[in-house]
Every structure is written in C-alpha cells, then in structure tokens.
C-alpha cells in the first residue's frame, strides 16, 4: 500500500464543505481563482551547479523549491551476468541497459532517508524514468563499461504541498541539460573520453530521442478534474492520481494520422505516451464528518440516536468525507485529460521546452 504521503492539514468541517462545493461546481471556483487546468507560475533555471553533469532548480509559487543534480560515473559492468543473460552478446551494437544503473535519492527536510515518503517519491520518479527501458540503453558505453547515473533530488523548503510534481519537473529540466563527455575510444577498448566539454553529448536530445518523463498531479472532486492542486484543494479531493508521461520521438511511422497533424498549428505534434499512473490516498478520507444543525445540540437540534439513520447526510453545506473508491470512468477521464491532444500534458511540455535557455 502506498504510504500516507499527503500531509494532513487541519481544516474545520465548514471550510471543507465550502471548498468541496466550490470545486465541484461547474466551472470549478478554486480558492485562488485559477481555472481547472491553470498552473501556478513557476520559476525555473537550469545548469546551476558547475560540478554536476546537469542540474536544475524550480521554485513553485507556493514557496516550495527543489534542486536536482545529475552526476555520471563510469562503472565496470559485472561481466558474469552479461555473459549469462545475453544470447545477442556476440553481436555488435546490441545495447542492453539495466535499471540499477540509475540511482535516485530524494531528500526532504525533516524526514529521514529511510522514511516511507522519500522512498515512495523516489520510486515514482524512477518508475517513470525507467518505464520505456530505452533510457538505460543510452548509459551503455561498451560491453565492459557503462555510465552510472546518480540523481540527487533535493527539496529545499518544507513540503508545503505534495512535492511530487515539483520534484518531477525539476528532474525533467536537469535531465534535459545533462551532458556526458564524448567517447573517443572504440568498441570494447577501455573508455577514453574527450577533455573538451563543448564536445560533450547531451543525454537527451529531444527531437531525436524521447523527452525525459514528467509526473503531474491530477485530482478530482466529484466530476470536476483539477490540475496543479494546492494544499487546501488536496484536502477535499475525492481521488488523486500521479500521472507520468513522456513524449516519443517524432517518427515517420505514424503517417496514418497525417490529417490530424495538419490541424495542430505550426505542424507541431506531440506524441504523448503514458508511462505510469499511481493513485495517492487523499487526506479527505481521514477527516471528521460535519454536524448538520438538526443533529447538533449546540444549535438547538437533537443529538443523533444511532449511527444508522445517517443524521443529516447529504444535507447542503455539511461536510461529508468521501466514501468508496473513484469510478473507473473518472480515472479514465483524468488520464485522458492529461494525454489528449492540446491537453495539459502537451502544454506543460511546451512550457518546459520554452523554459530551458
């Protein structure tokens, strides 16, 4: 089971009810006035740490801030297992990557390294990164050596809201700027690299390779689907999903939807791919139910006799924590909203592309 990773914030039943009703109305009225798909502006910069292969920093509008540094190291591949598992071993040009070559560590102030929360976040991040299996292939140098990648994800501020999207976006920017030195040696020689940093090769080269993945947080209140939820909004969520997606390299093979391609302005078309979906326990389930006036002795009502009669359930303006799981259709719709053409996933990727300068 996923750990209780969302922070419980204490809100009164009247506040919860207000937020819930506001968010579930159509169009939703968010407490800060954003539209359902609008993100808070964020401040980003990349290549900030000179000692790393790639790095980035992102500041969210709520004051949370994260720094990611990527370090690469040459490591001798353990030959035995390679000999055992490879039949294609003898062939030239067969690149095989392994998931252990990427190590992600998440550091959150005030939490120990072995707490469930950082481990869960690191798992979600690496899950998205390794999902296509194509990324680790790029770390392959030759049959005896490979790159080992250390991703150090540092949250600088206390986790005011659920930090997953922040960490994911920062990791995305850091990976985009990651460069590895150019290889001079050939084939199975011991690797020799060029000293010239300008000649180094980027790890990701977007038009040709895929994009690094991003993970977005999507929440639903009744039928309303909301992106980039704030702390208060998460407190009344019925369902919260962490959706990881990335973009496949633009290939000519998808020529069957050339007509659709024409519709998108500028001929720009993004080929989004869903990598992973995680559900996150919304904290709203742990809240107490609000008391309706008619069962509240302090407002002249009579106390509820037994629990069965419901006591003002479904009365307007009374907070009632969500029960049961999210509907299948709703989950499908939430994922669809991220991936659809012209949807949020594309816009976020567009924004991130514009950001790296």
């Amino acid at each position: 089971m996923a750990p209780q990773s969302l922070q419980q914030i204490l809100l009164s039943p009247a506040e919860l009810s207000y937020l819930h009703t506001s968010l579930s109305s159509n169009p939703p009225i968010r407490p800060d006035g954003r539209t359902a798909t609008q993100f808070r502006p964020l401040i980003a910069e990349s290549d900030i740490l000179p000692g790393t292969n790639g790095s980035a920093r992102i500041c969210f509008a709520d004051g949370t801030e994260a720094v990611v540094g990527v370090k690469a190291e040459v490591e001798r591949s353990s030959g035995i297992s390679r000999d055992v598992d490879g039949e294609g071993e003898g062939e030239e040009g067969v690149k095989k990557g392994r998931n252990e070559w990427v190590e992600i560590s998440v550091d959150i102030p005030g939490e120990r390294d072995d707490d469930s929360n950082p481990i869960f976040l690191a798992a979600v991040l690496s899950e998205a990164l390794l999902a296509d299996g194509e990324f680790v292939e790029r770390l392959w140098i030759n049959r005896h050596f490979h790159w080992r990648l250390y991703l150090d994800v540092l949250l600088l501020s206390p986790p005011l809201s659920y930090p997953l999207p922040l960490l994911s976006l920062t990791t995305h920017l850091a990976l985009l700027t990651t460069r590895l030195p150019k290889l001079l040696s050939e084939k199975d020689e011991d690797p020799l690299f060029s000293d010239d940093w300008d000649a180094s090769e980027p790890l990701y080269h977007p038009p040709h390779t895929s994009h690094p993945p991003i993970t977005l947080l999507v929440m639903a209140v009744q039928e309303t689907i909301i992106f980039d939820p704030s702390k208060e909004e998460l407190a009344v969520a019925d369902a919260v999903l962490a959706v990881s997606l990335s973009e496949s390299p633009t290939s000519n093979s998808s020529s069957q939807d050339t007509e659709m391609e024409m519709d998108v302005e500028g001929g720009k078309k993004r080929n989004l791919r869903l990598l992973a979906v995680r559900t996150i326990d919304p904290p709203s389930r742990l809240t107490h139910k609000g008391l309706a006036n008619k069962v509240n002795t302090a407002t002249g009502g009579t106390a509820q006799k037994n629990l069965e009669d419901g006591g003002g359930d479904g009365e307007e303006g009374v907070w009632c924590p969500p029960r049961g799981g999210a509907k299948r259709g709703l989950i499908k719709e939430m994922i669809g909203r991220v991936l659809e053409r012209g949807g949020v996933g594309e816009e976020v990727l567009d924004g991130l592309c514009g950001a790296e300068l």
Binding site: L10, S12, T21, G33, R34, A44, L291, A292, A298
Partner: protein
C-alpha cells in the same frame, strides 16, 4: 497557456534607502534611521541596512537598547539578536525583525484554530509561539440568556468547538510566558463558517496585517457577489466569508442574543452562490498579492486592491478569470502604486 515558466529574476533589495523627503507608510516612524549619523558608525553597511543576529549595531554609548538587541555586560556594544532592520526612536535603538511570530497583546482581534480540546478549555493556534487558551468560561453558551456553565457543558465541550474549528476571538489577558487567553463573549466573536481561511504574516515584519481601526468590515462586491465579510486577525490569520444577515432584522436588543445564538456553534454552511464564491476568491487573491508585494494589509488597501482587481478584470473582455498571478497581478499592482 496552462503554465507559465519564468526565469529567475535577481533578488530585489527589500529595503531601499528612504529619502528623507518621501514619507513611506511606516506610520511616521523613520525605519531607516538617521542618515547623517550612520556613516560614522556603520560605514560598510550604509547602503543596505539589514542586520543579522550577533552583528554589532553600534558601540556608541549614547544609544539605549530596545527590542531585538542586547548589550553584553561590561561593554557598550549593542548587538542585534534578530535579523531585521534597524529602527531608531529618539535614542532608543531596536531591530525590527524581517519575519516574526505574532506577539499577542490585550484587546487584539485574532482568528484562531482549535488544536486541542481539554476538559475545561481549548488550546488555540493563533500563530504565536505558544498556543493560546480559550477557557470554557470565556465563551457564550447557547441558549440565549447568560448562564452559569454546568457539568453538561463540560461533557459536551466538543459540540461548541472541536479540533480544527476556526473562531474569531479577542485576547483577554496575557500570561507570564507571553501566551494569550482568549474570550468570545460578544456577538461579534465565535465560530467561523461560510468562507475561506488564509494565513499571511501578521504584525511583525514586512507586509502583512497591521493593527488598524477596523479589522472587520463588509465589502459590497461587484458582479452580483453580494456582501462579503472580511476579518483580518491581527495575528495574520484572515477569514473571508459570505455576509449573513441576522434573521428578523427588527429583533429587540434584548432578544438579539437569542436569535443569533441558535446558529453560533453551527458547522453547516448556508447556501453560497457561485458569484459570491468567485468574489471571495478574488478578495483572497488580492490579499495574497498585497502580501507578496510587501504592502500592508488593512481595510483601506484591501478595498483599493479589490477595486483595482475588478477594473483590471473588466478590461479583459471575454472570460472572467479572477486569478491574480502573472501579468494581471502586475497590472493590479501598477494601479495600486499609482494611487
């Protein structure tokens, strides 16, 4: 565009040198101090007047030490104990912290959240270093007439306030350690509902809620939002809610308690229309903007900010969007600075 990504801007100097001619909104007190005196004492920091804990502010014996400073025995050096700006009042030298928790003072109107329920009192978070106390004896008991509290009330203490509930109260007394004791013995005070809560910096440093003549007022909102109440707690906790008319307006003054007390401990919201909710969001956005820009938050500024926000939003034909981030927020700030 769903997302805006900005490049980091160089940090703006928070405290600019104030020209002696231009009187800023510090209520007449000259925060930056005497310009002609500083070069002799703190020559190297003459352009940037933030001191950090442990920094020697002055070694001149003519100054008296005020809040945020101390003097080591046997020396005349005044040393700062907090990070902040130097404030000089005649010969009293104090350091005004950049950020500080709220220090309760008797008579302050505060908004608080119940953190603990004990047998005869509640413990309330008011943003101060310690939790404040709200004794059961200091609330209006339901049932109209002022009556003595009974054992039944003690047993039913959670029906009045339980954990997480918000309330507006007044600081009644202070204890030795600076923690406050609250009371809600007035029709103005009590449990909060029908709105949203937000927390900004309180009286302390920088922008935030300042003590003012009126902390509670009603805004007649535009766009059919109706009346909206704003409660600015001195501690920086703010409540924005729909204004509820007292039922049966013509109630005799003696019976007012009775009619109000029926719903005073309710946690059920009234019907609040979408227009009202939108305007509440807008007011919340305005206050957030004021705090971000380092403006003070009081009735005057909130009203000006609200009008500016409505004007800016009306200029944009088409969809109304009350979100005050990015370009729109900037326009509102420009409008505000003009005035």
């Amino acid at each position: 565009m769903a997302i805006t990504i900005l490049a980091p801007a160089p940090a703006e100097p928070i405290y600019r040198e104030v020209d002696p001619s231009e009187d800023s909104d510090n209520g007449g007190a000259d925060l930056e101090g005497d310009h002609e005196m500083r070069p002799t004492k703190r020559a190297k920091h003459s352009t940037f007047s933030i001191v950090t804990p442990g920094e020697v502010v002055t070694d001149d014996a003519q100054w008296m030490r005020g809040h945020g400073t101390y003097i080591q025995p046997g020396s005349t050096e005044i040393i700062a104990t907090v990070a902040g700006t130097i404030q000089k009042t005649n010969k009293l030298l104090s350091v005004r912290p950049l950020r500080a928790r709220y220090t309760p003072e008797i008579g302050d109107l505060v908004v608080g959240r119940i953190m603990e329920v004990q047998s005869k009192r509640w413990r309330v978070d008011v943003g101060a270093p310690n939790l404040a106390d709200l004794p059961l004896a200091a609330i209006n008991l339901p049932g109209g007439i002022l009556r003595k509290r009974t054992e039944t009330d003690e047993l039913e203490i959670r029906t009045f306030f339980s954990e997480g509930d918000l309330l507006v109260a007044e600081v009644q007394s202070l204890r030795q350690d600076g923690s406050a004791s609250l009371h809600t013995r007035s029709l103005k005070y009590g449990k909060l509902r029908n709105g949203v809560f937000m927390s900004v910096t309180g009286t302390g440093g920088g922008g935030g809620v300042v003590r003012a003549r009126r902390q509670v007022w009603t805004i007649d909102t535009m766009h059919g939002g109706g009346k909206v109440d704003v409660i600015l707690g001195v501690n920086g906790y703010i409540w924005i809610s729909k204004h509820i008319e007292v039922a049966g307006g013509e109630t005799a003054i003696t019976r007012m308690e009775e009619s109000i007390s029926a719903t005073v401990y309710s946690s059920q919201n009234e019907y609040i229309g979408p227009e009202t909710r939108t305007e509440i969001s807008r007011i919340k956005g305005v206050i957030t903007l004021l705090v971000e820009q380092g403006f003070r938050v009081d009735e005057d500024m909130v009203m000006k900010g609200y009008e500016a926000a409505v004007t800016v939003d009306d200029e944009d034909l088409g969809e109304t969007n009350v979100y005050l981030g990015g370009a729109k927020g900037k326009k509102v700030v420009d409008l505000l600075s003009e005035k």
